[in-house]
């Protein structure tokens, strides 16, 4: 019984640390966009050191539970790259190619089941985030899915993908969902004043 509690708690901490890493790296990349939109950004608060804290957070998450946190991080990278699918990156690959490459690397390293669950779950979170940010995101950037496909369509698609991720891994879903909800609520509380 105590082992099960310890396992659940450690998985939750790993997911929260992974979420922190994704948020910090995302803030580092979107520093200029957020500065123009006058949004709260951790990169402005912590300076250029934000990327180091992101790496540290991901390392800790991987040390606690690599099987859960690393597929989630790779899926976040894959989804994030897919948003800029036409842009060419430092690697010389387009966003879409990088996204597919990272996904298949994740499949080789962590297995289909794990990567599929992570990808669908992160896509669902991305849709919920875009639904909530429909009025704050800049329409010109074209990165918000809710602005592109419609607000209700985005919400319904978010619910469907969340249910699909639940079906993909019924054992892991409640823990990952609860951890993400805790992190996201804390983030919304912090960004309330934006």
């Amino acid at each position: 019984m105590s082992f099960a509690i310890f396992e659940t708690a450690s998985t939750m901490i790993a997911v929260i640390l992974c979420s922190i890493a994704v948020k910090l790296i995302d803030d580092f990349l979107d520093k200029e966009i957020d500065a123009c939109a006058d949004c709260k950004n951790f990169a402005n608060l912590l300076g250029s050191g934000v990327i180091v804290y992101g790496m540290l957070s991901l390392s800790l998450a991987a040390s606690i539970n690599a099987a859960v946190s690393l597929p989630l991080f790779l899926a976040s990278y894959s989804i994030g790259m897919f948003n800029d699918f036409k842009k060419t990156f430092i690697s010389g690959l387009s966003g879409m190619h990088e996204s597919l490459l990272i996904f298949f690397l994740g499949v080789i390293l962590h297995g289909w089941h794990s990567m599929l669950f992570s990808l669908v779950f992160i896509f669902s979170i991305q849709l919920f985030d875009d639904y909530l940010d429909i009025n704050t995101d800049q329409p010109a950037s074209c990165r918000n899915i809710a602005q592109r496909i419609g607000k209700i369509e985005c919400l319904l698609l978010a619910i469907i993908t969340l249910l699909i991720s639940w079906q993909t891994n019924e054992h892991l879903f409640p823990v990952v969902f609860l951890s993400t909800a805790i992190f996201y609520s804390s983030l919304l509380y912090y960004q309330k004043g934006r």
Partner: protein
């Protein structure tokens, strides 16, 4: 249970998208038919004809 919920929300999404698409097309057709008449009615009420640009009466 999860499968039923997924199917339920998927059907809702398809129905919503279909309804929105058809509603937009229907609304555009109705507006295209109604707006010229409404504009003409409005112009005649203001005392001039929108088509021949002549004044109907002095204000």
């Amino acid at each position: 249970m999860l499968l039923i919920l997924t199917l339920m929300f998927s059907t809702l999404l398809i129905g919503y998208y279909w309804g929105k698409h058809d509603g937009r097309a229907e609304g555009y057709k109705r507006a295209a038919a109604d707006i010229p008449i409404l504009l003409r009615e409005n112009s005649l009420e203001q005392g001039h004809c929108l088509l021949c640009k002549s004044r109907m009466f002095d204000a």
